[in-house]
C-alpha cells in the first residue's frame, strides 16, 4: 500500500510538469505580448522596447543548450520557462496583472465564499439525490418511480442558466423571498441569507442528473446475487437497501463524489457571478475575461493539484470500502 502510494505520488511529477508547460505555452502563444498590458495606450515603440528589456521579457523563452555547453550556467538558467516553473512549483504565483493583488491572497479570500456556496449545495444535493434514487429503486416501476424519472429528465433538460435567471427573477426579484445578490463583507451567520437561493438553485440544477445516475447504480446492485440471498434469509426491504445495497453501491458513488470535490474549491462560475459572491469561480471568469494570465495559471495549477490529489484519495478509498480491491 505504501509503495503504491509513493509510486502514485511520483507519477504526479511529470503530470504537473506537463500542466505547467501547457500553461506556459498558452501564456506565450495565445496570451499576446505582456508588455502591451503594462505600457498603456499612448506608449511608443521605443517605450515598449525599453519596457521589454526592463521587465525581463527580452530573455529567451527556452533554456539555451549552447550556453550550458559553454559552461554559462547562469545564462542557461535565465529564461522565461525556468522562471515560470520556479514560481509555479513553489506556489509563488506573484500578483494579478488585473488587480495588482497577491494571487495567494486572492485564492485564500475567494475560497471561503466559494466553499460556503458549494459545500452545502454538494451535501444537500448528494443526500437528496441518493435518497430519492433509493426510494425509486425501493419502489421501482411504481407511479412514484415513473414520476421521478420523468421529472429527472425534465430537470436535466432545463438549462442551468435558465434556472438561475428564473429563480433569481421570481424568488428574489418579484416575490422578495431572498436577497437578489450579495455576500457579507465578513464571514458570519448572515452568509446563510445570501447563499440560500444560490444553494437551492444549485441543488435543483443537479437533482435530475444525480437521481438518474444513482438510481441506475442502485438498480444494478439490486439485481446482484447477494440481494436475492439477503431477501431469501428474510431481511426486510429497508435492511436490504440500506444495509447491503447502499454499501455495495459505494464504489461508483465514491468515484462520482471524489471527482466533484476539487470543483467545490473552484466554486461555481455562474452562481457566483449572478449572485455577486466573491468566490474563486467569479475570480476565474474575471481572469479569463481580462486575460489575467498569472491568475489563470495559478487557478489551473492549484485546480490540477487538487484534482490529482482527489484521484489518489479515490483509489485509496476503493481499497477501504471494498476488500476485493488491493493496491499494489
Amino acid at each position: 500500500m505504501l509503495s503504491y502510494f509513493i509510486r502514485r505520488i511520483l507519477y504526479l511529477v511529470p503530470i504537473l510538469i506537463g500542466i505547467a508547460l501547457i500553461t506556459f505555452l498558452l501564456f506565450r502563444v495565445v496570451g499576446g505580448d505582456p508588455v502591451d498590458r503594462v505600457a498603456g495606450r499612448y506608449a511608443t515603440e521605443e517605450q515598449k522596447e525599453e519596457l521589454r528589456v526592463q521587465l525581463g521579457f527580452d530573455r529567451p523563452l527556452w533554456p539555451q543548450p549552447g550556453r550550458l555547453l559553454a559552461g554559462d550556467l547562469d545564462g542557461f538558467a535565465r529564461n522565461q520557462l525556468f522562471g515560470h516553473f520556479a514560481s509555479t512549483f513553489t506556489f509563488r504565483f506573484g500578483r494579478s496583472e488585473q488587480y495588482r493583488r497577491s494571487i495567494s491572497e486572492m485564492i485564500r479570500s475567494g475560497a471561503g465564499p466559494s466553499l460556503s456556496l458549494t459545500v452545502p449545495a454538494f451535501i444537500i444535493g448528494l443526500f437528496l439525490q441518493i435518497t430519492i434514487a433509493m426510494l425509486c429503486a425501493f419502489r421501482r416501476n411504481s407511479r412514484f418511480d415513473r414520476t421521478v424519472v420523468v421529472l429527472s429528465v425534465l430537470g436535466i433538460s432545463v438549462p442551468y442558466l435558465a434556472l438561475i435567471i428564473f429563480g433569481q427573477a421570481y424568488l428574489a426579484g418579484r416575490w422578495g423571498l431572498f436577497p437578489i445578490y450579495g455576500y457579507p463583507e465578513r464571514f458570519g451567520f448572515s452568509v446563510v441569507r445570501y447563499v440560500a437561493l444560490p444553494v437551492l438553485l444549485g441543488v435543483a440544477a443537479g437533482l435530475g442528473a444525480g437521481v438518474r445516475f444513482y438510481r441506475t447504480v442502485i438498480l444494478d446492485e439490486t439485481r446482484a446475487d447477494y440481494v436475492r440471498t439477503a431477501r431469501a434469509k428474510g431481511v426486510g426491504e429497508g435492511g436490504v437497501m440500506f444495509g447491503h445495497v447502499l454499501k455495495n453501491a459505494l464504489i461508483p458513488i465514491i468515484t462520482q463524489v471524489v471527482v466533484v470535490i476539487p470543483f467545490l474549491f473552484l466554486g461555481s462560475l455562474l452562481l457566483e457571478r449572478f449572485f455577486s459572491i466573491p468566490g474563486l469561480g467569479f475570480m476565474l471568469v474575471d481572469a479569463v475575461a481580462g486575460a489575467d494570465w498569472p491568475v489563470i495559471n495559478a487557478l489551473t495549477f492549484v485546480g490540477a493539484v487538487i484534482y490529482l490529489g482527489a484521484l489518489l484519495v479515490t483509489d485509496l478509498l476503493y481499497a477501504l470500502v471494498d476488500p476485493r480491491v488491493t493496491l499494489k
Binding site: R41, P179, I180
Partner: protein, 593 residues
C-alpha cells in the same frame, strides 16, 4: 450506515436553514434616522486603488471619491472647464512654457489612517505629489499611466524610471531635476519640451498625491489601503463585493457650485448652490457584473442609479425615446447625455489594397447603413458621426456634416467603379478583424459583411481575442479593424493624435495613417497654448480626414442613465469621477439589503 445518517442529518439541517430564509428575510427595512446613504453598483470589480495605476472606469468611480488631484472639472458646466482643486490656483508658466509653478492649497488634510502618528491625517504638501509621480515612474509598479502623462516630458523622470529597473530597492528620495518643492506649498515642474495638455493630465486621478506615511506602512499593499484627501474614506475591504465609505472628517470646507449649463440649471441642479458639501454620510457599493441582478436591484430600489440593459430597453424607453409611463410612476427618471467617444472601422493605410485606394474607402463608408446599425446594436443610443471629433469636445461641428457618413449605395457603387480602375480589376476579398469572439462581436462582424456585400464586396471576418487583435495591430497586419476611442480629456487633440504619423503602430495610430499636411497641422496645433486658437487648425485636420476616409466612422454614443428621484444633484460627467460629494439622497428610504 452511520456515515449515511450523519450526512442525512447535516443535509436536512442545512436544507431547513436555507428554506427558512424566506420566513425571516425582509427585503426592505427602515433607514437609519438622519443618515444619508447613497447606494451604488459597480459593473466590474475594482482593479485596484493605488492612484498611479487607476486606469479603468470602475476603479476611478470608487477612487474618485477618495482621491483628489491638483485640478478638476466644473461639475455642472458645459463645455467642460478646468478648476483648481488641490492647487490654490492655475500654475504660473514660464515664457518658454517649460516651468510650471503650482501653489498647493493650504488646509487640505489626508483622511485619518493608522499610517499617521496618532492615526490623524496630516496636511498635504508638494512632496506628496512628487512621491506619487515617482511611484508612477517606478517600473516595478507597472503603471499603465506613465506613458500617457509624463513619459518624455519631465526633466529627469525618464532617467529615474530607468534607474528603478536596475535596483532592488528604489530610493524615492533620489532627486528628479524636473520635480521640486521649494517649500511645502509650492510645486515646481520643469519640462524638457512644452506640454500644452499637462493641466488636463493633472486633473487625472493617477496624479493624485500619496502620503509617505501610508507608503511606509503598507508598502506593496498600499493598493488595498487607499489614503486620500477626498470627501470620503473607505471602511472595510473593497476587494469584497460589498463595501462602504463614510465621510472624511478632515475634508476641508467646500461649497456646492453656483454655475451650471443652462440645461442642467433647468433640471434644478443649482438648488443647493452655495451649501457645504458633501451631503451624503455613507456610500454603499456593490459589485454586480450581470445585467439581470443589477436591473432587478435597481427596480427594487436597492441601488440609486443604473444604465439600461439591452434586453430591458423596450420595457423602459418608448418608441419616441422617452421614459415609459410605468417607469415614471415608479419614481424613476431618465438622463440622456452625449458621450465624447467615437466608434469606427479603421483601414490599415499601409495595406496596398485599402491604403492606396481612397475611392474604395469612401465607397465602403457610404455603403454602411449607420441608422440601422445604431438601432440594431445600440437600441438607438447613438448618433451618426460627422468626423473624428465627437460631441462635448470643443471643435465638434454638428452642422458640418460628412458626405461619406450617409447611406448612399448608388454613389458608393459609382466610387467603387473608380476604385476598381485604380486597382486594375475587381477588388479582392477583404479581411475584417473584430476584437472579440463573443456573440455581439460576431453580430457586428456579420452586419459589416452584409453591408459590404450589397456594394458587391466580399468580406472575410476574423474574430480575435483581444491579445491577438493587439498583436496583429502592432505588426500592422490588419486590413480593416473595428475599434473605439473614449476621450481622456476635453480637447480634440486627444482624438486627432490617433492619425499623427509618428504615432503609427505600435503607437496609438492603429490605422498607420500618414499625411505630411495633417502632421504639420497637428504639430502646429499642439504647440499653441491657447485651446481656442487650436480649433481652426483642428477643423482643417478634420476636413482632411473626412476626405481621406482612413476610418469608417460608425457612431457617437449617447448615454441613457436612470435614477430614482430620491437621488438629487445627479448628472453624469465624462471626465470627473468624484461626483458623489455633490449628490444627496432623500433619507425616507428602505435600508440596504
Amino acid at each position: 450506515m452511520k456515515l449515511w445518517l450523519i450526512l442525512g442529518v447535516v443535509a436536512l439541517v442545512l436544507l431547513g436553514l436555507f428554506l427558512s430564509v424566506p420566513f425571516f428575510y425582509r427585503p426592505a427595512g427602515v433607514g437609519e434616522e438622519g443618515v444619508m446613504v447613497r447606494r451604488a453598483a459597480l459593473g466590474a470589480k475594482i482593479r485596484g486603488l493605488d492612484p498611479h495605476d487607476i486606469g479603468d472606469t470602475t476603479s476611478a468611480a470608487v477612487g474618485g471619491q477618495i482621491f483628489e488631484t491638483l485640478y478638476t472639472y466644473a461639475y455642472l458646466e458645459r463645455p467642460y472647464r478646468l478648476l483648481p482643486q488641490l492647487a490654490e490656483d492655475f500654475p504660473e508658466i514660464s515664457e518658454d512654457g517649460l516651468t510650471y509653478t503650482i501653489p498647493i492649497r493650504r488646509g487640505v488634510y489626508f483622511a485619518d489612517d493608522p499610517a499617521f502618528p496618532g492615526g490623524e491625517g496630516r496636511e498635504l504638501t508638494a512632496d506628496d505629489f512628487i512621491l506619487a509621480w515617482k511611484r508612477m515612474a517606478d517600473l516595478n509598479n507597472r503603471s499603465t499611466n506613465y506613458s500617457s502623462i509624463f513619459a518624455g516630458y519631465v526633466e529627469g523622470l525618464d532617467e529615474f524610471r530607468a534607474y528603478t529597473a536596475e535596483v532592488d530597492r528604489v530610493d524615492y528620495d533620489l532627486p528628479v531635476a524636473g520635480l521640486r518643492a521649494p517649500d511645502p506649498h509650492t510645486l515646481e515642474i520643469r519640462l524638457v519640451r512644452p506640454h500644452n495638455f499637462l493641466l488636463y493630465w493633472l486633473a487625472h486621478l493617477p496624479t493624485a498625491p500619496v502620503a509617505r506615511e501610508a507608503l511606509e506602512k503598507y508598502g506593496e499593499d498600499l493598493v488595498n489601503h487607499p489614503v486620500g484627501t477626498g470627501p470620503f474614506r473607505l471602511v472595510g475591504n473593497y476587494r469584497s463585493n460589498r463595501f462602504s465609505m463614510v465621510r472624511n472628517e478632515n475634508f476641508r470646507r467646500e461649497l456646492y457650485p453656483d454655475r451650471a449649463a443652462e440645461e442642467l440649471a433647468e433640471r434644478g441642479l443649482l438648488e443647493d448652490a452655495g451649501r457645504e458639501i458633501p451631503f451624503i454620510d455613507r456610500i454603499e457599493w456593490t459589485v454586480i457584473e450581470e445585467a439581470q441582478p443589477l436591473w432587478l436591484a435597481f427596480l427594487a430600489g436597492k441601488i440609486d442609479s443604473s444604465g439600461i440593459p439591452k434586453d430591458n430597453f423596450d420595457q423602459v424607453i418608448t418608441t419616441d425615446r422617452e421614459l415609459s409611463p410605468a417607469m415614471k410612476a415608479r419614481g424613476i427618471r431618465l438622463i440622456k447625455a452625449e458621450d465624447p467617444s467615437i466608434f469606427y472601422y479603421g483601414f490599415n493605410m499601409e495595406d496596398p489594397v485599402v491604403g492606396e485606394n481612397r475611392p474604395l474607402r469612401q465607397a465602403m463608408s457610404l455603403a454602411f447603413d449607420r441608422e440601422t446599425y445604431i438601432e440594431t446594436f445600440l437600441n438607438g443610443r447613438g448618433m451618426v458621426p460627422t468626423g473624428p471629433i465627437p460631441p462635448m469636445i470643443p471643435g465638434f461641428r454638428e452642422e458640418k456634416g460628412n458626405p461619406y457618413t450617409r447611406y448612399d449605395l448608388d454613389r458608393a457603387r459609382g466610387l467603387l467603379e473608380e476604385a476598381e480602375e485604380i486597382a486594375g480589376g475587381p477588388i479582392p476579398v477583404l479581411r475584417l478583424a473584430m476584437p472579440g469572439t463573443d456573440t455581439t462581436a460576431r453580430q457586428m462582424g456579420e452586419y459589416f459583411r452584409i453591408q459590404m456585400s450589397r456594394l458587391g464586396l466580399e468580406i472575410e471576418v476574423d474574430y480575435m481575442t483581444w491579445p491577438k487583435f493587439q498583436d496583429a495591430a502592432k505588426t500592422r497586419s490588419h486590413q480593416i479593424f473595428s475599434l473605439g476611442w473614449l476621450a481622456d480629456y476635453p480637447d480634440a487633440q486627444n482624438f486627432l493624435l490617433l492619425f499623427y504619423g509618428p504615432h503609427r503602430s505600435p503607437g496609438p495610430n492603429s490605422s498607420n495613417y500618414s499625411n505630411p499636411e495633417f502632421d504639420a497641422l497637428y504639430e502646429e496645433a499642439i504647440a499653441l497654448a491657447d485651446p481656442e486658437e487650436r480649433i481652426p487648425l483642428y477643423h482643417r485636420m478634420e476636413d482632411i480626414l473626412i476626405e481621406d476616409c482612413p476610418w469608417i466612422f460608425t457612431t457617437y454614443r449617447v448615454i441613457y442613465a436612470l435614477y430614482h428621484d430620491r437621488l438629487q444633484n445627479y448628472y453624469p460627467h465624462d471626465f470627473l469621477y468624484g461626483t458623489m460629494k455633490f449628490q444627496r439622497v432623500r433619507s425616507d428610504l428602505p435600508d440596504s439589503l
